[in-house]
Each structure stands twice: as C-alpha cells, then as structure tokens.
Symmetry: C2
Subunit: 215 residues, 2 copies
C-alpha cells in the first residue's frame, strides 16, 4: 500500500517499527529508489562516510539472524540493510566529492579546494576525543532515518535494530578485520506481516526544554 | 512556502542544508508541531533517550555562536535546536514509558513487565564496549533527521551542525557538569535566506553493495 498522497506529517505519525514481515520480495526499482533517497541524506562536509550493504540472499540473512541472537526480522524480511559507518573517510582521498560539488555549481572552486584541509582540521578534535566513529555513525543514522520515512511512504515497513553482535555482523557482510568500518544500524525492509499500535511518548515536560535543559 | 502537497520523495530530494537564515520567528504552533514530529521518531526500547533544548533567546544563541567557533547559523536562525543524548537513560526509572505503552495497548502486560530487565541486559554489552553514549546519540539522530524532513515539508530550512566545542554547548544549555548528557547535534531552524544547489553524491559503486561490503 503506497502512501504517495499522504503528507510528511501523516507519514511520520503513522510509521511504526515492525517485527514481522511477509516474504514478498521488494521490487528492484523500489529498492533502488529507497536507497537513493537514503543517500540523499546530508553528511558532514558531504564526505558521505557511510555505505549500505543490501543483504537479500538467504545465507547472509541467516548470518544476521545469528548475529542478532535469533531475532525474527532478518529471516522474515526479504531485505536487510546494513548501514556501515566509515570512520576513516576523512583520511581518504575524496577528490571525487570535491570535484563533483564544484562541477554541480554547489561549491565554489575556492571552497572545494579548501575542503581537504578543512576536513582534516575539523577531525583533529573528534580524533583526540575518540569520536571519529560516532561522527560517521551519525551520518549513517541520518541516511537510515530518511530511508525509514521513505519506506513507510512507499508502503513498506522497517525497524531500526541495535541488538546485535558487531563482530558477527561485520563478518556477515565480509568486513571482519576492518577497524575503519563500523556497524551503525541494521534495518529490515519489507511488507509488514503485523500492525503495531503507538506505544506513546513521554510527557513533553521530560523531553523538551526551552533555553536550558531542565531535569 | 509550505510543501504540504509534495511527496516524501520530492521533499527528501529537494532538501538542502542551509547556512544563512532570515530573522523571521518560527510560529509557535509550527515549532510545536515540528518538535512533536521529531519525538515521533522510534527509539531503542522506546526509552526515548534523547531530549531537545529549544534555544531562541539571543543570549543563548550567541553562546552557541561562540561554541561553534563563530558560525553564522546560531546568530541568524531564529531557533536553534540542541539534540541531547541521554546515555544514562537505561539506568533511570522509565516506569512511565512501560506503563504508557501497556495502556496504549501497544505492549502486552508481560512485555512491559519484562522491559526493565530486558533493557538492563541489553545495555551490558554496549556499556562494556564504551558505546552507551553512541547508542543514545543514534536515537537523537533519528529524531533530528525526522525533524529535518518535516521542517523542509513545512517550508523551513535546517542544517545539521557537527562543528562545535561540546563543553561550550553543554554550558550554553545549562548542563556543564552532566556526564550523563551529551550533545548529538545542533540544528538551526528558520526561513532560508539562500538557496543551495545539490552538491552531488558519490558513484553508487562506492556506497552501495550487494550481500557484502565491496571496497
């Protein structure tokens, strides 16, 4: 059931995290569209320090069942999206990014030329504080969040999963020894086999504050 | 310019991060709606381990200018949203959450009753690995991402900001000595005073992989 005519507000309000999925495959065109919308998410310096591994084969999904301690999602959902955070992105050559932004007219030649140095200078502090990984995870989370909303608009369900053994997930997607890559999130994608009610939200006096944090 | 009739796909594709803002205040009703949509974002165990501090007063925004090394956003944008990650949430009493989810009919009485123990068991591993902060930051990022999309649909601009001195941001929102609270993101919100072109995205062969990570 596509929700093409629903407003963003309606989409956000009606989205629920879904635990059980129908086996119907996600059409390839739709899957490609959703991944493109995820990658439209902004990222720090447009570094795009995140990747998506699309796992559809049964062996890969079974490895993710094992990595999540036997959760049903990876077995039932036809697609598992593994969001990978690339904490070493800022050390890599991203000439393609600077050149493309300049060619698109989005960045001036001067801004593009300064970017490699700016990126290095910016990362000194997070590196010192051990937050390189967190920075990349944050960009991966924006992408995953955009996909959660886009998927629901297209009539598909997702459920952000944090309960997994990171080493096992990394092994499942072929990067057991990559210290520069981290798992940000697992996101099953497919047609929902259940409906879920809204579990409510805490009183806003506990979660929203004016001018200063209040508790 | 509200984009109430645009599809989610159009909203996501046309959203850009904006550096310069008009001083027009964000109407209170709209601000409340956007915050509500942010808080609709899912969170791990529905723990809602994130809060939003809404900074509109000039003194607070000037403190954020200083904390961001002189960036223009906090001075120009009428609203600065500070997303706070609460890494100690899982140790706190969240009886209100369990009780509300049960009352809404979203969780069974048994599931609600087991949640405090489940939450503690789940957090043992992240605690051991020093990832409690990252977990809370991830939930804050989903909320911030939902707000980015909702704001653009309502005709307002945002720009996720990572470049700040965390101690200074914490001082600006009144939590200089709270080790259990962390800054996930700064998000200026307001009417855009500029338009930005799309800077492009890396070739998908570098960012999307099937079954296994490929570079």
């Amino acid at each position: 059931m596509s929700r093409a005519h629903a407003t963003v507000s309606e989409i956000i309000r009606s989205r629920r995290s879904i635990r059980h999925y129908l086996p119907d495959p996600v059409p390839e065109d739709l899957l490609n569209d959703l991944i493109e919308l995820a990658l439209e998410a902004p990222s720090s310096f447009n570094l795009q320090a995140r990747s998506i591994v699309v796992v559809t084969a049964e062996a890969g999904r079974e490895a993710l069942v094992e990595a999540t301690g036997g959760q049903p999602h990876p077995r039932e959902a036809p697609v598992m999206l593994v969001f990978v955070a690339e904490s070493g992105a800022w050390r890599e050559d991203r000439a393609d990014v600077w050149e493309q932004a300049r060619r698109c007219g989005a960045w001036s030649a001067r801004f593009a030329a300064a970017s490699p140095d700016d990126v290095r200078a910016f990362h000194e502090e997070p590196q010192r504080r051990g937050l390189e990984r967190e920075l990349a995870v944050k960009d991966a989370m924006i992408a995953a969040s955009f996909l959660m909303i886009a998927a629901h608009a297209a009539g598909l369900a997702t459920s952000p999963m944090n309960g997994w053994d990171e080493a096992k997930v990394k092994a499942a997607v072929g990067i057991p020894f990559r210290d520069d890559l981290h798992i940000a999130l697992l996101l099953p994608l497919g047609r929902p086999a259940e409906s879920r009610l809204h579990p409510g939200r805490r009183d806003r006096s506990l979660t929203v504050f004016r001018e200063a944090y209040g508790r």
